[in-house]
């Protein structure tokens, strides 16, 4: 089997790797780049925990081969808060914390990345819109209520800030 040289941008930083074709993007991020914020739950596209943003679109990183991300711009949960230890949390993260929108936290990175992509395109969602947007992300702890509330709060905060981060 032939390894492929790829280059991609991860959270604004250009990176390169040599990958075997079967390496999943999720494994490249976690194992090669040490970005373990991206969680792998079901590993077959059912749970949404591994959602990252590729070229602006929320995608399941367990269903994308790393070699396919060659030349792409990838955003993970590690990039959400902005660079540097002093950067504040992203409004989504703030609202998840304030609203207690997580318990064990395993699904949270996927929830955050799905919502980050969604809110850029739909800055003023209704509650029903948020529930539909999150239909591909499973949470086994919260019952979703506080996640939806946090998402609506975050949408309002992002609108007020006038920036779609």
């Amino acid at each position: 089997m032939t390894a492929h040289a790829i280059r991609l941008t991860v959270n604004g930083t250009e990176r390169g790797a040599r990958v075997m074709p079967r390496l999943l993007l999720a494994d490249l991020l976690r194992e090669e780049f040490g970005l373990t914020g991206t969680h792998l739950g079901c590993e077959h596209g059912a749970c949404g925990a591994c959602t990252v943003i590729v070229d602006g679109e929320p995608v399941r990183s367990c269903l994308l081969f790393a070699v396919q991300a060659d030349g792409c711009r990838v955003e993970t949960v590690e990039g959400l808060a902005g660079p540097g230890p002093d950067a504040g949390l992203h409004p989504l993260q703030e609202c998840f914390r304030a609203r207690h929108a997580l318990q064990c936290g395993f699904c949270t990175p996927g929830m955050l990345m799905t919502l980050a992509a969604y809110l850029r395109e739909h800055p003023s969602p209704t509650e029903a819109d948020v529930r539909e947007a999150l239909s591909g992300n499973l949470c086994r702890c919260t019952g979703y209520q506080n996640i939806v509330v946090a998402a609506l709060d975050a949408a309002a905060a992002l609108r007020a800030a006038g920036v779609a981060r």
Binding site: T51, V59, R60, L63, F65, G136
Partner: protein
Amino acid sequence: MRPAPFEYFAPRAVEEALDLLARHGTEAKPLAGGQSLVPMMNMRLARPGVVVDLNRVAALAAVRVEAGSLRLGALVRQRALERDGRVGAAAPLLAEAAPLIGHLQTRARGTVGGSLVHADPAAELPACMLALDAVFRLRSAREARTCRAADFFRGLLATALRPDELLVEIEVPAPTTARVGHGFAEVARRHGDFALVGACAVLGLDAAGICRHARLVLFGAGDVPHLARAAAALVGERPVPARLTEAGRAAAAEIDPRADLHATADYRRHVAAGLGAQALSRAAVRAEAAR
């Protein structure tokens, strides 16, 4: 779960992809959005020795409208059906069904052609294409041919596509009547799940409000989407509610649904009758409102 090893090719042109499929035969598998194939590879239900990734073939991702007919490249993402105004204008049935296909993340990658060749009996797009009487353009290194949706779906996850062929384009023909309407209805356990049963319909009316074109498809109920013979009886009539209810019931009598963990066969048949009538009546209301 990780896939078994494979060789990977990312052609830039359709011809290059077709050559790879011809060269590697049944060892090779084309990769479109990967939302069905990659889970199967992760679970090792599929172990292709060669993966031909179509995602860099730009020519396969085009949306065009020509003389009222909509041409979708096989690699058009399912999300594009929701976002592209040309799809909504030329084939509003597709725009209405699209948000029900999987989830945001799967639609961002999942393609129109991928869903059609995967041919899951509960999937929305095969049923819609059958209702729209779409024509599929298939190519191999040897030949190019067309196949109507009605001839394409052959069985559970089985189609008329040969191993060395690619579905390259889907043509949704322009409506044959001036006043046309569509309807879509499905029952699923959660938003984004495959339908337990679904129905979609296209009705065309003449200036006097008489039905000149009627297609109703029931899906999720058998191995392939079912084009209901009962709908043809509506042609030449005014689509009054009682007739549409009757057509829905007659269509449901044509199917032989499966029973599984999620629903009994009787339940599916019962719901199919109601959904068939709903899809027809939405189509009739829209066609009557059209000018």
